[in-house]
Amino acid sequence: MTSRTLHIESRTERLIAVREFISDEARSFGFTDEDVSKIALAVDEACTNVIKHAYRFDPNRDITVTVKRKNGTFEVTIRDTGSGFDPSRLHAPDMKDYFSHYRKGGLGVFLMKSLMDKVEYEINPGKRNEVRLTKYLHR
């Protein structure tokens, strides 16, 4: 197994660095360009959620992004120490309902679930929250 970690401050201008880090890791693992884009977008969404919701735009907090690669499994863990949330209340919107009411938020959660094979949460508010995004390399 190989493991690499990127630490960033909770600022939206750092999202580009996250996408570059994830894209390099996913590409060298053997994913197609299409899958590389999907993984980078899913991780962008997870980090954006942390910046907006867990840290409420406090720019001086830390986010840790760790990539673990093993036997065809590409796992990205996004960790924060922010306010956390109840994952059972976090659901992807029904898009028909979404459009009929012109709603504005919640798209990120839907995207993460659509783009990755597995999305898991481990929430300990104020201590350590984790989102784990997994994609399998189909050979």
């Binding site: 999202l15 954006t48 990120g108 995207l111």
Partner: protein, 118 residues
Amino acid sequence: MSDFTIAQRERENVQVLELKGYLDAHTAPKLEEAFQSLLNAQRYNIIINCRDLSYISSAGLGVFMAYIEDVRKNKGDIKLSNMSAKVYNVFDLLGFPLLYEITKDEQEAFNKFAGSAR
């Protein structure tokens, strides 16, 4: 580094915004400002030319959702054109083609405004 820019121009009574670069949570406020100033000027026929848009996340998609209702209430529309396959896939995944007219090129979007008597 400026990773997202918007160029604005007018074609008869249609406003065209050309997006270039990366539209994410960092750059989405720039697009919000552009929409807000169009609405303030009561310009409701809007084409978003995505030819040079390399990337979009849900923060960018949310901007289109935030303004479409006001634009349509005022008998206008937001039409999108010239999307790369990569950007289109994100719109498609969320079902946006059901709500927004997405055309192959800008002329087609422009003609649709002409067809609905701008």
